[in-house]
Symmetry: C2
Subunit: 120 residues, 2 copies
């Protein structure tokens, strides 16, 4: 069974961290498999916590979704490294880590939506 783990940077501000929980809820509306969330740093649940939660829900494969706008060091190096470390505690559980969100045409659409502008 597959589970999804959406990962953001993490913040010391609880309000910022709550937004990842909202994103997880949006994902739950879209996929039938379990969805967990984790913060890369600064706040629990950690990536190790989130990975373990996926395994405890029965996952044999964890698909990690980095909630980062750009493919910088965090999305490309830090998150994959932390996932690899987390996975080491769960031999036999496969995993993959997706890329960052942007740039992507949907983000240009969303910029215009956010500005209250219909797409032309």
């Amino acid at each position: 069974m597959r589970a999804y783990l959406v990962v953001d940077h993490g913040s010391r501000r609880e309000r910022s961290n709550r937004r990842l929980s909202e994103v997880a809820d949006l994902l739950r509306e879209r996929v039938e498999d379990p969805v967990e969330f984790a913060h890369m740093e600064l706040a629990p649940p950690s990536i190790a916590d989130g990975f373990r939660a996926c395994v405890e829900r029965g996952a044999s494969e964890v698909v990690v979704l980095p909630y980062f706008l750009g493919p910088g060091r965090h999305a490309n190096e830090d998150v994959p490294r932390l996932v690899e470390e987390a996975a080491a505690a769960h031999p036999g559980v496969r995993y993959k880590v997706g890329p960052a969100l942007g740039p992507h045409p949907l983000l240009a659409d969303l910029l215009l939506i956010r500005a209250g502008l219909p797409e032309k």
Copy 2:
């Protein structure tokens, strides 16, 4: 005439900054009005540079599109303040600043697309 100014955080890495230029190109495919881009900090063009470029292209209204994932301090406070300061040099030019991108259902769609997963 309206112009769009898409603004990201800015980076010391040229590769990161180039991605905003790609986002500006995606916007140019979507709107007929001029599109400029600017970095909040760390690299030119600054928000003042970008605002001036919009005015030089004939804009009487500048619509600022923050390319930030979360509605944190940068998108909510720093960018609007820098836009206000930039606009002060161009009396008579109206402007507005959109909100951050997330959370939004399109971002959940994009997370799944990025993981190579069809939306269910």
